[in-house]
């Protein structure tokens, strides 16, 4: 079991409030990823879960038991730290055993658990080394092993991949995902990297400035971002966001005008909009094409072409200075581009009102 629920959690350091009214239910066995830019409070939230920090107000329950004031040791959680925080003066075996010894576990069981964890993580041959004699990837495995042997209710992982090089990060990411499937234990994973979030998560929590912006499955967040922040944060390259004006609004459709000669009609709930309102249209770079298609054309000058082989990334600039990025299939735009017409399917566009909230209908799939 590993169901964690947070109710109205606030955390303030003096007058500075870093978490505002966090409500979150973490399901048993799910991989929940907390993602957001640095300073958004995701690590603080993880420390509150761990019990290393206490909320200013609110309630935290694990499997229905109120643990708001319970110490870190008694919560039955295990944490993997960003710096790994392995005890440098102990061997790998002592590092793994330390937490179990503190629980006064019989020696035979400690050995059995260490054997099991080292087999799973393939760190058996390093057991008598100290952390200083291990590479970054090996230390990372030991840090995960230290959490695994505890057999915790839930794992808390604080940016565990940020100290690895790019190649190792991808393989370790896959291993963590496999480990999660195998153990089927709740994992709460903090990262600032949206790719990690998308690939690992059952559900993603996007945070900004101490608030939860959106909670949902990775593709739901990608397809239906609730607001401008989530739209800009999830997806790479970033979604193109263009300021527009409402031309006409009806309950089912909204017509807008924007830079680069943009003029289109989007199937959206226009009840609260009226002509002349400021809105923002969001178009994913992958939803843009060049040339063909009649609906929703944008005129722009190509400033840079990145030919990657399977796809071409075109950086363009509209006449009124709006930057647009288009990711085109295959190899297009030989050399410097000059003027192009960018097309997109209005059904794939996202519309946000003046306060940044999504107004588009849920797309029919």
């Amino acid at each position: 079991m590993g169901r964690i629920s947070l109710t109205n959690i606030d955390r303030a350091y003096g007058k500075v409030k870093v978490l505002h009214d966090i409500n979150l239910d973490i399901q048993d066995g799910e991989m929940l990823v907390l993602v957001g830019p640095s300073g958004c409070g995701k690590s603080t939230l993880l420390r509150l879960l761990a019990g290393l920090d206490k909320p200013t107000s609110g309630k935290l329950a694990i499997d229905g038991r109120d643990v708001t004031r319970v110490s870190a040791a008694e919560r039955g959680l295990a944490m993997v730290f960003q710096s790994y925080a392995l005890y440098p003066h102990m061997t790998v075996r002592q590092n793994l055993a330390f937490g179990l010894e503190n629980q006064r576990m019989p020696k035979a069981e400690i050995d059995a658990r260490i054997t099991e964890a080292t087999r799973m993580l393939e760190i058996g041959q390093y057991l008598d080394r100290r952390p200083g004699q291990l590479s970054g990837g090996q230390r990372q495995r030991v840090a995960i092993g230290r959490a695994v042997v505890r057999n915790p209710t839930a794992f808390l992982l604080d940016e565990p991949l940020s100290n690895l090089d790019a190649e190792l990060r991808i393989s370790t990411r896959a291993e963590i995902s496999a480990l999660h499937k195998r153990l089927a234990t709740t994992m709460v994973y903090v990262t600032h990297d949206q790719v990690e979030a998308m690939t690992l998560a059952d559900r993603i929590v996007v945070m900004r400035a101490g608030r939860i912006e959106q909670v949902g499955r990775p593709l739901d967040l990608y397809n239906e971002p609730a607001n401008l922040f989530v739209a800009g944060f999830i997806g790479a390259p970033r979604m193109n966001l263009l300021p527009c004006k409402v031309k006409a609004a009806a309950p089912g459709t909204v017509s807008i005008e924007g830079p680069g000669g943009l003029s289109t009609t989007i199937a959206a709930n226009g009840e609260a909009l009226k002509p002349g309102d400021d809105v923002t249209i969001g178009i994913r770079p992958h939803d843009m094409t060049i040339g063909m298609g009649s609906k929703g054309a944008l005129e722009a000058q190509v400033t840079l072409v990145e030919a990657l082989g399977p796809e071409t990334v075109a950086h363009t600039l509209t006449a009124d200075g709006q930057k647009l990025v288009a990711v085109l299939k295959g190899q297009q735009l030989d050399g410097a581009g000059g003027a192009v017409k960018l097309h997109f399917d209005p059904a794939m566009a996202h519309l946000f009102d003046r306060s940044g909230q999504r107004v588009t209908y849920v797309r029919s799939k």
Partner: protein, 350 residues
């Protein structure tokens, strides 16, 4: 060998002596003499006889006048190179000295006595180490008892110092509490109060709690050192907080965090403090002198003081025993010095 010569004569720019080469040699040799000279002087002087210590001009090496057994005389006689009245120079043994006249005999023909002015004879000397400076104190003087007291005071005081100071430093570096900086400031502030100011009140306290004339009275007032707390705290600040968080997640109690995580990682700083503490306690003189009155409780430094009487200072014994008391401090430095520079705290991270 040729490599050593090549190394020692290596010069700036490869050829020719630059003034910086000469300056460097002068600086290094000067430094060596300045640093090592007094220690060498002490050790060599500790092997001199009292007569030689009083001699002027002093010599670097310990010498003794050569002696010879001469038939017809009970004691061995000192040998001199004397210029005899007939103008010849011979090695003679001195029978006795009367005023400025020395009575000499030829060791091979002891029948005839020559009278020579003392200015006309030079003692025949050889290098001889007066080891009796070292052996006699062990016979007449309660050296072993003093040594035992000194070792007890030093070891116990150092252990208590390390324990209490590291506990204070742990609290002051790893716990956030109101007034933390004020407490640290108060502790460090006590550095500004010299011992001579504290001597009388400290004596009153010690005597009131019944620790007067006991080794614990020497130990306890010295164990809480602000220097130690400050030194350990600054070192512990460099131990990452994440390690302590990790230990908390690992069900460690606060005592275990201190004992099994922070203390081993602070080993280099503890070693430095241990060296300081050993040297301080071993060399302590004034405070033990005040507290201890029974002779069998004297520490070495106080015991040595008994050689410096009101009328007569037995320099040869003082010098020899000073050398003996230096040995433990030197050993501590040799064995713990590697900790001064080595640090292992950062290796478990990144």
């Amino acid at each position: 060998m040729s490599q050593v010569v090549a190394f020692l004569t290596r010069r700036r720019g490869g050829r020719g002596w630059h003034w910086t080469d000469i300056f460097m040699w002068a600086w290094l040799v000067g430094g060596l003499v300045l640093m090592f000279g007094p220690a060498l002087w002490l050790v060599l002087s500790s092997f001199k006889t009292p007569a030689q210590l009083a001699e002027f001009p002093p010599t670097l090496l310990p010498y003794a006048t050569e002696q010879v057994a001469v038939a017809g005389y009970d004691k061995p006689l000192n040998l001199f190179t004397a210029q005899l009245p007939d103008g010849t120079t011979r090695v003679m043994a001195e029978v006795r000295r009367v005023g400025t006249v020395s009575q000499l005999v030829d060791p091979k023909a002891p029948g005839e006595i020559f009278k020579v002015n003392i200015a006309d004879r030079q003692p025949v000397r050889e290098i001889r180490f007066a080891t009796e400076n070292y052996t006699q104190p062990f016979e007449h003087f309660d050296f072993l008892q003093y040594l035992k007291n000194s070792v007890f005071v030093t070891v116990v005081a150092t252990l208590i110092t390390l324990l209490t100071n590291s506990m204070a430093a742990f609290a002051l570096s790893k716990y956030e509490f109101r007034g933390r900086n004020l407490v640290l400031l108060l502790i460090v502030g006590t550095l500004m109060v010299p011992l001579s100011v504290l001597l009388v009140p400290l004596y009153s306290v010690i005597s009131a709690v019944g620790l007067f004339d006991s080794l614990w009275g020497v130990i306890l007032p010295t164990v809480a050192t602000p220097t130690g707390v400050f030194l350990l705290r600054q070192y512990m600040l460099t131990i990452p907080d994440e390690l302590i968080d990790a230990a908390r997640m690992d069900n460690a109690s606060e005592w275990q965090i201190y004992w099994r995580i922070v203390l081993p990682l602070a080993a280099p700083a503890l070693a430095v403090l241990a060296i300081f503490s050993v040297v301080w306690r071993w060399n302590d003189f004034l405070w033990p002198l005040v507290v201890l009155s029974r002779k069998e409780l004297y520490t070495l430094q106080v015991g040595l003081n008994t050689y410096a009487g009101e009328l007569n200072v037995q320099w040869h014994f003082i010098l020899a025993m000073t050398v003996v008391t230096m040995i433990p401090v030197v050993l501590v430095f040799i064995f713990l010095q590697r900790y001064i520079t080595a640090g292992i705290a950062g290796t478990g991270l990144k």
